[in-house]
């Protein structure tokens, strides 16, 4: 269009120059002058018309842009309508691990593992209705090394109000900070031992939202039976209540570059003597059913250190299960301190010989961790106020060797403690001489190549409490007992 504007003087100037030089002659020839005047007017009109057509074409292009669906290639590949009210996207993640168990833990084989392979279809329609379906192609069948495909999440939401949104289906129960934070964004390869006590992805309904900026709550009713498990227990078919409430106090104090996260979680429900497990088979007194991972495996994904027996509750009686959690995190700039505590309580009446009568048993677990983004990114930038969790860390510069950019680096230390000493004796007691708890120290270094790619190395040193785990020593082929485990985990992670 500018070019066209420039054309006006270019076209007109020679005419006027001509007029100037031959002014006297033209003055004597009014017809010629009139013709020239008309010519100038015609040219002027033509240029103006071209200009206007250009303007209208721009307007039409802008209007069309508002109606043309947008192809998106960040946080998944997909399409969304120009007004953003409708959207569909395909997301995925792959986590490939290598586990090495030197020293005492050599009873567990060094191995490569496809830790997670998720494919997600998510989206929304009419702005307020969203959905998500995720398949996990790397779920490990119990007691085998065979990977299979299971449904990880499948839910839809009605989001009329930010203060009260509704979700139905199978989804992550609102409990705990680590459990609620995506495995993609945790600072260590595996969540701590406390995670074994948090409810995982279960079937139910939830109301959740942000009553005010910086505050999140979630209140759910679930089967309490774990992932991909309906409640098939005809003796007790009550729903479990699960809830979480958190606040980022830095919002209220208007602190920049800071997160002051505090909150708590709870759940309460009843489990009958014959309890449906994740595989929908009835197992007597499997009271830890419904937990996200094998309840007592080490953070290095090696040995199982805590194997309680059944609580011996008669079919006609219930086990009352209460879970409580507290969580806190402080982040300022590139440094983050985080801690969680989870307590399980089981009460009921046992018929186990030698432990007949009422019982009241606890399992307590906690961790404290410290992380440092060596390359200076801010944790506050990755905090997600909408659900009080940590999100994606975006390096200041993605890896680009040719320009001297090396991504982001996170260093971390975590100490965790799992205490089930109430199960040393009495109802549900572990086998004599086997552990009722563990303590673990984890050191981690994570290289974030870009927001979607990470490489990590973790070293986990676990010490068992009150006993030892019986293993078969590979080198000597004899039964031995180990009081701890040392593990090195390497992870490559990619998501889109």
């Amino acid at each position: 269009m500018n070019l066209k504007k420039k054309l006006i003087p270019v076209l007109i100037a020679p005419l006027f120059v001509g007029l100037t030089f031959s002014g006297q002659a033209l003055a004597n020839d009014s017809d010629e002058l009139e013709k020239l005047r008309q010519l100038v007017q015609e040219l002027d009109q033509k240029v103006k018309i071209l200009d206007r057509k250009g303007e209208l074409a721009e307007e039409a292009a802008a209007a069309k842009k508002k109606e043309t669906p947008i192809v998106q290639a960040q946080d998944g590949f997909g399409f969304k309508s120009a007004d953003g009210k409708n959207e569909i996207k395909l997301q995925g993640r792959v986590q490939a691990d290598y586990h090495a168990f030197p020293g005492d833990g050599a009873a567990v084989a060094n191995t490569t593992e496809l830790r997670r392979a998720y494919l997600t279809l998510a989206g929304k329609v009419y702005k307020d209705y969203d959905f998500k379906v995720t398949g996990n192609f790397a779920d490990q069948k119990a007691d085998t090394a065979i990977k299979t495909t299971v449904l990880d999440e499948a839910y839809f939401g009605i989001n009329w109000w930010n203060q009260a949104k509704f979700r139905f289906g199978q989804f992550q129960m609102p409990f705990g900070l680590e459990a609620s934070t995506s495995d993609l964004f945790n600072d260590f390869a595996e969540r701590s031992v406390t995670n074994a006590l948090a409810p995982f992805k279960e079937r139910g309904g939830m109301v959740h939202g942000n009553p005010i900026d910086g505050v999140y709550y979630g209140l759910a009713l679930s089967t309490g039976r774990g992932e991909n498990a309906n409640n098939t227990d005809t003796i007790n078919d009550d729903q479990e209540v699960v809830g979480r409430g958190v606040a980022n106090l830095a919002k209220f104090f208007k602190l920049d570059n800071t997160v002051l996260h505090a909150g708590g979680s709870f759940s309460h429900g009843y489990i009958s003597g014959n309890q449906a497990t994740n595989t929908n088979t009835l197992t007597s007194n499997a009271f830890l059913v419904g937990q996200g991972v094998v309840s007592s495996q080490t953070e290095g994904r090696g040995l199982t250190f805590f194997t309680p027996t059944g609580l011996g509750v008669a079919n006609s009686n219930d086990i009352e299960r209460t879970r409580l959690g507290a969580e806190a995190a402080i982040a300022y700039g590139p440094v983050k301190l985080q801690s969680e505590y989870i307590k399980h309580n089981y009460t009921g009446t046992s018929t186990t010989a030698g432990a007949v009568g009422s019982f009241d048993k606890d399992i307590n677990a906690w961790y404290v961790s410290a992380n440092w983004l060596v390359t200076g990114e801010s944790y506050a930038d990755s905090y997600l106020s909408e659900n009080g969790t940590w999100g994606r860390i975006k390096p200041r510069n993605n890896v680009d060797f040719s320009n001297g950019h090396y991504g982001a680096v996170v260093l971390g230390l975590r100490y965790s403690d799992y205490d089930a000493s109430d199960f040393k004796t009495g109802a549900g007691a572990v086998a004599a001489g086997t552990p009722t708890g563990a303590r673990a120290l984890t050191a981690a270094a994570t290289w974030i190549l870009n927001p979607y790619t990470r490489l990590a190395i973790n070293y986990v040193d676990t010490t068992f409490d009150d006993g030892a785990v019986t293993v078969k020593d590979i080198s000597s082929n004899v039964i031995a007992k180990v009081s701890g485990e040392k593990a090195i985990t390497l992870r490559g992670q990619f998501d889109f």
Binding site: Q45, K48, I49, D51, R52, K53, L56, E59, A60
Partner: protein, 333 residues
């Protein structure tokens, strides 16, 4: 006992206090292109009227564009409480395509739901350099004509039909000659805007063309805003009675619970004050007393009605403006 009464009174006051509070209401009026000024004045007046009548605060938002485009936007989900469009056919589409209003919507308000009328005139540059006196001058070779696209603009469809009606009258109702006449007219159109306001911009601000086929109100407004020393209005020997129509969008007002205020908003257009505002914005009032008062403001024109010449909007739309209709044949040529 006294304490109980006090408690009951306080409780009643608490319960009833929200009822006594003034409500804040918003309405969306989706209108056609040249009504910006009209509804700016009218919305202010109606807000005051409604506040005085009910105590409620009503804020009216307005959306303007080509009438056909606006109708499509409402059908596609734009939450318009009221539609005030350029012609009945566009409002009909809210029933035909969206079932957003009842079929007999036009019977709900006076004058077939057309609270004001207008017509089509010719706006020329000062001194009328191309000596344009009537429609037959507009089709002369070398005359540059500005009119918007009849596919998107209600005003453009009125322009087209006014020219067609003139050609029919001057050619003994010969449809072929009328088609030829209108084809010549569009041959003289160098650029098609999507709406009437855009065409006015093209003619007035961009300085393109010799004559603008315009709503009478738009031409009078342009003359008022820019001065009679720049433009002249030429009243053709025959034009068309343009009846912009209005309706409450039932599905939206029921969803938003705004039916009462939306209905009152449209009814107020027929009141003396509403009609005064329309007249002051150069729309022809339908209320006799106000029409008489502003009689001198509007030139006398021989006006034909769409029902009489074209058999109504449905038929006119199908024949002339539907895909593959006469306009497509003319403009492709």
């Amino acid at each position: 006992m006294k304490k109980s009464l006090l408690h009951i009174s306080l409780l009643a006051a608490l319960v009833l206090s929200p009822i006594a509070q003034a409500a804040d209401i918003t309405l969306l009026n989706v209108s056609y292109d040249p009504t910006r000024e009209l509804y700016q004045d009218y919305n202010t007046a109606f807000s005051k009227y409604w506040k005085a009548k009910t105590g409620d605060n009503v804020t009216i938002k307005a959306s303007h564009g080509g009438s056909g485009k606006q109708a499509r936007a409402i059908i596609d989900g734009l939450d318009a409480d009221v539609a005030t469009l350029a012609l009945a056919y566009d409002v009909d589409q809210l029933y035909e395509k969206g079932k957003l209003i009842p079929k007999d919507w036009q019977k709900r308000l006076g004058h077939n739901s057309a609270p004001y009328t207008s017509t089509i005139v010719l706006l020329v540059r000062k001194g009328n350099p191309k000596k344009i006196k009537d429609w037959n001058d507009v089709v002369r070779p070398g005359v540059s004509v500005i009119t918007p696209n009849p596919k998107t603009s209600g005003g453009a469809r009125w322009n087209y039909l006014a020219a067609w009606a003139y050609a029919l009258k001057t050619n003994n109702n010969d449809e072929a000659k009328a088609k030829e006449f209108v084809a010549k007219l569009f041959k003289n159109v160098p650029v098609l805007d999507t709406g009437a306001r855009g065409a006015t911009t093209t003619f007035v601000e961009r300085g393109i063309g010799d004559v603008l086929l315009a709503w009478e109100n738009e031409a009078l407004l342009a003359q008022k805003e820019l001065g009679p020393d720049k433009f002249e209005i030429v009243v053709p020997s025959l034009s068309i009675l343009a009846e912009p129509t209005v309706t409450v969008v039932d599905k939206v007002v029921d969803k938003r619970k705004t039916r009462a205020v939306a209905t009152a908003y449209l009814e107020y257009l027929y009141s003396e004050e509403g009609q005064e505002i329309a007249a002051q914005n150069y729309y022809r009032p339908t209320l006799d007393s106000v029409a008489k008062k502003y009689e001198s403001k509007f030139p006398k024109v021989n006006l034909v009605k769409i029902d009489e010449v074209f058999g109504g909007w449905q038929k006119a739309q199908k024949t002339h403006f539907a895909d593959g209709g006469t306009f497509d044949e003319i403009y492709q040529k």
